[in-house]
Symmetry: C2
Subunit: 376 residues, 2 copies
């Protein structure tokens, strides 16, 4: 196995492959990146318990002198490639278990792992993909993933539910204290599906999409989904189980609707949270929001030990409806507001102890819902 | 106590004062910042076991309506000031233990601590200061402080020794594995002194000097030193004990002297360290450096588990002297090289098991010394 390639080209692909390396695994071979060197291209593969990633490299800078397959310790290889400043690097297998990497006056000999130990990765090979725009996927992840559960009490809630029905994609995430829902009309037809993708996988996928701007093809079977991006395959396991029916908890009648400038509201909420006491269950800061008779919204917190905070926010337009007072975790509202692209948002109140709903004037078909907490 | 001030002005001074707040203290009052409001200026004070800081604010934006003294919880106040976006803020004592901070439509009530509990801080009040240029102090800290010991086995080594004699300032730091020494000729006369300043205090002082460009006056007594900067007082305790005589461990004869391009050498050393094994005692990466008969310098590491690294570095000028081979902690050389301003450095070898000395062509009167480790 001998090849040379531009260092920048290889490093960029290694940084994608890196997202498939495990942090900790009982199967040490997975710390390696599988290099398959063919006559005119390379295939690099990494995998852990959640995802498997494969990239194909057929860059014009690639010169292959001898084909072969090896398993190279991933993190060491990536660190070396980061630190190398020369333009070209050469990889050559010199013994059964030793690879030499040369770059200018640098020479690294890395002990290989046994390529025979590397598990076979089945990347899905199906018909009928669903084509999605890469930026749409990125947007959906940004708008929903933060609402997934981080603890494993109910494993199904640690992922985002993607349901496809009649040309519409319905995406929902909830940790049972708040919920994000995004609906998208698709231009393509497909068979219906109803899957839950782990939040960590979506985080990694989102980072890969930062550098990819074409359509992504989705291939789905009952256990996994493959995202195919030109020369990158990103496959993740799916969460098992039935996702809860969340439609019934979203209120439909809102006696009070208040419009806000998003940035003003966000800053006021962040300031009030500085002093607010923490919720016993979630450890999050609890703040109060109330609509005063003079139509000004008051955001406040009371803390016997440290002190009190009070912000007045003037709604962006006239408010109708009764005076209302509600308390909730400030972090939920901060995260929801940050996920909107709109500069103006509405908060829709169903009642003092009912979930309230946040929408953005420019973010069509996106809603966030937050459960209030009871206060004295 | 009532005053108003521009938020930016106050925040900038609070960020200096912050460096004197303790992380953890058995004396909770020290979590507070002492505010003394006089007719035409404010004095803010913070202190912990190492340092005490005082800033005077007499900015033209300051409007004092009522004098007074209070102790305001430091971290909460600083967080609030950071998050406030309005131009002006008002502070008003409304009850014995409650201060109101108003900014636009924001209002914070902070519970005060008991000002009577705040300890008296004696800032030195002496004659005969030594005047030093602030950038010189910053440079000395950068060039020496990293060589101080981080563990407390020999407490005296956790500081930098500043010795003044016959118009010269001699600055030394060592953790007993490496040493940094900087000599400076001063323009002013002063009484002789020989003090050791804790490394943490120097770190904080260095950050304050980032925003200060005038002369600094030093006032020294046997227990502490005061750095006086226009409207800022920075006082630190001194380490007790006698600093070891380090002159005798610096070799004076060097059979081999090699010139390097600093950046080239630094990059080669950093790459080799990626694979190098770790020293049992210090847990640092051990690398080898040898001068070959062909006058090329080889930097290498051997690691039975992971692999080997080898770099060839061509000296910046002709090398005279015998072939030499030496092993040492790469981190020591990396840190030493980074502390030089020069783009060219020399490594001066006294022998294979003797300390070697690094100098920069533009960094006069600065030397770094590193002890080699024995290898097989």
């Amino acid at each position: 196995m001998i090849f040379t390639i531009d260092r920048d080209v290889l490093l960029n692909q290694l940084l994608i492959i890196q997202k498939g390396l495990p942090n900790k695994t009982p199967l040490p071979i997975l710390y390696a990146i599988k290099f398959e060197v063919y006559e005119d291209h390379l295939l690099l593969t990494s995998s852990n318990t959640d995802v498997a990633i494969q990239v194909l490299i057929d860059d014009s800078s690639l010169v292959i002198k001898k084909t072969g397959k090896v398993a190279i310790p991933g993190r060491y290889l990536i660190e070396i490639m980061r630190k190398i400043s020369s333009q070209r690097v050469e990889f050559a297998l010199i013994e059964d278990k030793l690879i030499v990497i040369k770059a200018d006056r640098s020479e690294f000999k890395l002990r290989l792992m046994d390529i025979e130990d590397y598990p076979d990765i089945d990347f899905l090979d199906l018909d009928d993909p669903i084509a999605l725009d890469s930026q749409l996927i990125k947007t959906i992840i940004k708008e929903t993933n933060y609402s997934t559960a981080t603890n494993e009490k109910r494993p199904i809630l640690t992922g985002v539910n993607f349901k496809y029905l009649d040309n519409h994609l319905y995406c929902v995430a909830t940790d049972s204290y708040r919920l994000s829902q995004k609906n998208v009309k698709l231009r393509t037809h497909s068979k219906t599906f109803d899957i839950v993708i782990p939040n960590r996988s979506l985080d990694e996928l989102s980072k890969i999409l930062d550098t990819y701007n074409n359509d992504v093809e989705l291939y789905i079977n009952p256990n996994k989904v493959l995202f195919k991006m030109n020369k990158i395959l990103f496959q993740t396991r799916l969460l098992e189980g039935t996702y809860p029916d969340t439609m019934r908890i979203i209120p439909t009648e809102f006696p009070v609707i208040i419009h806000f400038n998003k940035e003003e509201l966000l800053q006021a909420v962040e300031r009030v949270s500085l002093l607010s006491p923490r919720d016993r269950e979630t450890n999050y800061n609890i703040i109060k929001m109330s609509l005063r008779p003079d139509s000004i919204v008051e955001i406040s917190s009371t803390n016997n030990e440290i002190g009190d905070a009070l912000e007045e926010v003037i709604p962006a337009s006239d408010v109708t409806g009764p005076v209302i007072k509600i308390a909730f975790s400030s972090r939920y509202l901060v995260e929801a507001l940050k996920s909107f692209s709109s500069s103006e948002v509405t908060i829709n109140f169903a009642g003092e102890v009912k979930p309230f709903v946040i929408k953005g004037n420019l973010d069509q078909d996106l809603l966030h819902l937050i459960l209030p907490v009871r206060i004295d």
